[in-house]
Point group: none
DNA sequence: TATGAATGAGTTTTCATTCAT
DNA sequence: AATGAATGAAAACTCATTCAT
């Protein structure tokens, strides 16, 4: 009733939502969206099934909210890559992307899985398409500045490579030489004299 | 005594199985495995639910049989790429792979979706891992023969690119410049003097 | 077309029916009627599902035909027990019944299982009731002739014992001392001086 | 925070489970386990199919839980038979068993039906075997104390009789003279001077 | 007579969602 | 805000029976 309890409510809401997001991410990301039941999410989050419906209208709304939340975190990473030296900026970009791969295995797996279903989860397709286009333009600019002749082709190759790496890493997990491939790309694309 | 000959029965079985495979591929490949019901497959195939269980013990057994069947078709494509000139062989390989991408969109989408589930569908992971290793070795050999200095790195890049292309093509469908990328790769990797 | 082939047909029919009866008895008698599928019977009998429907209108009709057939065989056993000495006749009767228990485990198990379902399989109830009444009267007569004072009570006890033995034997199979119990009963009821 | 107390939830669960047990016992016990569908149980219990699976993992788990629950009730009956006079104890035992027959027709019918299936429902066989052995030992002790010479043989006869009575009662229902047979047994076995 | 592919109604089971408290 | 009992629609799967050959 006092203004104080309103803040407390807010905190409680925040905490519960976080618990739900964490559990959802882990389960959606490993078992897949369809194969994950609300009951299981509730159990993993340590709350009741009913509570999930206090925060989200449906299973699909929960998915969308969770993805939106996490992807926005990813966007922040890109902010910090800019440097005066385009080669350095590209290096930062590559490092950021590999860092993302390392830290967001479950989300990546989930997004790839979702984009597999045509017609459903349009927001995932739209988001992915948007990001890709953005990266492509960014890469073209950087490679041109660095001095690549066929910078358009190379930009497409590099962009495609990123997703190929995501896929390979998803398939092979710890067997995939993420660090080595990162070094290789930096050497190949950021060392142009 | 037997009213239909063994061969007639065999033909009938073959035809029904094909109908089931076709419907399964289309539905699994667009909606995903979990989101596709046996009832829907039956409807699309123009048969009864029960008949599917005359041919396959379970939904998962159907999936596996269908994947095995189609992947074996893919293996046959590789047989025909060999030439005396390694550059020509690589060109054939690239063309075969792009042809595969063009003709097997649904299967690719399905396999990617399946490999998203960790722990389940182990046969998909095993198969994918096996193919990847095979391609990597093949690519290394060809690139070395063609005369690439850092042929190991380049082989890994090329192998990764293939899967990145599959992913991009899956996401963008007709928006993805498959033909252009194919030409680009052939130019970049098969024209080494 | 010739009269000869008619006989042959008859032989074939006989043989097929026997195969079906044998398979049905074994399966119904071990797994139970409901848990046994027509497909399994056909497989065990080495014939096709369809053929069963050439001989019997339905699964239940097959059951009834099979039971009727086997029970009539049992009736024949009783014919041969009669002797001038009532004690000897009773001994023969007991031996016949124990012989029946030994040779018709599956049928006994089936009949007991069927009589478990109230309302269904009325013919089993009727048959069982009829046999029981018949045995009771027979036992009363024999025990009276042998010289038992309370022959009515003893007849009921003996009749009940037979079915208790059937049940115990069914539950314990080879662990049940059928031979010993047989000797015991003969000693107790057929040795009245 | 919790809207209903733990106790309230417990009560609700108890009540629902009881409804399910009651419906199951009646249906399993009259139609048999296999011939009774979950849908029918739900209908008879006045609840939804789904709710049954909130309480039991499977149809078979429901069966086992129900049997365990009821058999434990039966065990309590035996506790109260003991007296200083072995003849009186035996009389109490006989009365308890007949009381059990009168009150648990459906359960008896169910158990007999289940033990008919070889290989399945092992827990029923184990339970039945255990009870039988226990009764046999108890009967031997009592008959010896009462002064029967051939107490081992008589114990086996009496034990077998009990199950024969169960079977006859099951078959003939109200036509079976349960009261008369009870008096007869008490007279025969508990009046030894 | 004999086959087995095909059906469809019915079975067990799952699960997102609702709701009284 | 939080619980978990309850629902009902839909899922996977089974099986007696039919039928063209």
């Amino acid at each position: 009733m006092s203004p104080r309890s309103k803040e407390q409510f807010e905190e409680i809401r925040e905490a519960s939502q976080r618990k739900i997001f964490d559990a959802s991410l882990e389960l959606f990301g490993t078992k897949g969206y369809e194969a994950t039941s609300i009951a299981l999410i509730a159990k993993k989050a340590g709350i009741s099934k009913g509570l999930i419906y206090n925060y989200f209208d449906s299973k699909e709304a929960l998915l969308q909210a969770m993805v939106d939340d996490l992807v926005s975190v990813g966007d922040d990473m890109i902010e910090k890559i800019w440097s005066d030296d385009p080669a350095k900026t590209l290096e930062n970009l590559i490092q950021s992307i590999f860092e993302w791969f390392r830290q967001n295995e479950n989300l990546n797996r989930l997004l790839i899985g979702l984009s597999t279903q045509v017609g459903k989860f349009q927001f995932v397709h739209d988001m992915a398409k948007g990001k890709m286009d953005g990266y492509l333009i960014m890469l073209e600019g950087l490679l041109q500045e660095i001095g690549f002749e066929d910078y358009q082709t190379e930009a497409r190759i590099l962009g495609t490579l990123f997703d190929g790496i995501a896929l390979h890493h998803m398939l092979m997990k710890e067997d995939y030489p993420l660090d080595e491939v990162e070094r290789m790309l930096i050497k190949k694309y950021c060392m142009k004299p």
